[in-house]
């Protein structure tokens, strides 16, 4: 039996292209058919749905081999007869017994797979009654073979009861169908196992990617956290600068006050200078106010950073949980993969 490769687009088994040789080992079939033919005394051959033989003929009679098949006309009539028998068998899904064009009793046992015919076992080349010479002389003339030889050959044909022929046809039918069906079920199993295996491989790969990206996310989050902490350090430095500016503003204010005092002591001459001194004090007050505003801003930056750090830590926790979950899934997938491997082995056991 060859390894059947026919698959549908989705990877499932394509039943429409399964051939007989995919489900039955032809050598085995040949052996079985030969032994059976010899044992029962029935000729037989296995053909595909087109009527093309798949096996060598077993125990063919001289009547058929040397006479009927010897002319083109006879060969054609045989093929036509086989085709009809096969068709009838396929239609009923059961073995049929019929009389061939050359007046012998034949049977056709269909090999069905889920309602579709994948082949036919043809057989027979026997008689149920003593042959009538006149009938065979007529046939000999029709197909163009020697009348005397033909009548002589038909005498060599075995005579079997119709029940025996039916029973023989049934045995072939049951055995061939059971063999092909169980082989087909095994094929299906293998196909499912393969699909499962592919799917698991994909899941595994995806899980690996997930794990990798989780660690990247984790690393990025770590960097983000430390970067944000840097912002807090910078904010602290800004505050220090602000303290310095505030100090300058205080100093400037004092300068303004002292200048105002000097101006006042200078009397009339200091009036203009007094105005300047007042402006200096105003400027320093503005500076101080601005420092306060900036400090409010840096405070809110600090708060935001603290919140971000807290959230970042939460994210890190979540990522760790995810990584753990991914590990668990990976472990489960590996378990399933090993089960699938067992399934595959079962499916490939002949």
């Amino acid at each position: 039996m060859s390894q059947y490769q026919g698959k549908n687009m989705d990877g499932s088994l394509d039943l429409s292209t399964v051939k007989l040789k995919d489900v039955i080992d032809i050598n085995f079939l040949q052996q079985f058919q030969d032994d059976f033919a010899k044992g029962v005394g029935l000729a037989s051959v296995t053909v595909d749905p087109d009527g093309t033989p798949i096996t060598n003929p077993s125990s063919y009679t001289r009547f058929c081999m040397d006479f009927t098949h010897s002319t083109e006309c006879g060969d054609k009539r045989c093929a036509e007869s086989h085709r009809k028998g096969g068709e009838e068998a396929a239609r009923t899904g059961k073995p049929v017994i019929y009389e061939c064009h050359a007046g012998l009793i034949d049977f056709a046992a269909p090999i069905m797979l889920e309602g579709r015919q994948i082949g036919t076992i043809l057989g027979g080349q026997v008689l149920t009654d003593v042959p009538n010479d006149t009938k065979y002389r007529k046939i000999a003339n029709e197909i163009g073979v020697d009348e005397e030889g033909y009548v002589e050959a038909v005498q060599e044909i075995r005579t079997l009861s119709r029940e025996s022929i039916e029973a023989a046809a049934n045995v072939l039918f049951i055995v061939a169908n059971n063999m092909s069906n169980s082989a087909y079920q095994q094929m299906k199993l293998r196909s499912v196992a393969d699909t499962l295996s592919d799917g698991l491989a994909q899941i595994s790969a995806t899980m690996e990617e997930l794990a990798a990206s989780a660690s990247v996310v984790s690393e990025n989050q770590g960097n983000l956290n430390s970067e944000i902490k840097n912002v807090n350090i910078v904010t602290g430095k800004i505050d220090a600068v602000m303290d310095f500016i505030k100090d300058i503003a205080d100093e400037t204010r004092l300068l303004g006050l002292n200048a105002a005092i000097e101006a006042a002591r200078a009397g009339e001459a200091g009036l203009g200078f007094g105005v300047v001194a007042q402006e200096i004090r105003k400027l320093s007050a503005d500076s101080k106010e601005t420092v306060g505003k900036i400090k409010d801003l840096t405070t809110s930056i600090k708060e935001s950073v603290d919140k971000t750090v807290t959230m970042g830590n939460e994210t890190t926790n979540t990522i760790e949980q995810q990584a753990a979950a991914i590990e668990q899934v990976t472990a489960s997938v590996m378990e399933i993969a090993s089960l699938t491997e067992q399934l595959n082995q079962l499916a490939n056991t002949k």
Binding site: D250, E251, L254, N258, A260, I261, A264, R265
Partner: protein, 152 residues
Amino acid sequence: MSIQLVIFELDNKEYGIDVTAVNGILRARKFKIQALPGTDSSIEGMINLRGNVNYIFNLRTKFELTEKEISDESKFIMLNANNSTIGCIVDEVTDIVKLNDDQVQSTPNFICGGVDNYIIGIGKFEDRMIIILDPEKIFSAEVATLQGAVSN
């Protein structure tokens, strides 16, 4: 006539002192006050201002207010009084204002009738009331004892 005042605060109350008596304002934090033993409790100590020793007085002690640490805002108002330059610790110097005579109301005798009365009057400026101090009188007694103590 008008008077120009340096306004300062002690416990959120405003005081004023004639600007002509003010030598300058210093940030208290910038100086180290060295205590003088055996002197009046109003005398906080002395500082070295550009090579000169100046005595620092505590107005809180003088006015019997709760003690308070020197803060970032604390200032020394340096006064030319009693033939020397002395400093007073104040919470903050807030302003320099000019008041006309009609904005200054003298204090009646029943408030401070004594010889050491150092309150000249009350300055009325907008809604504010400013206690105007006499730079010569405010620490005259202490300066006298101090001069005694130092010369002894």
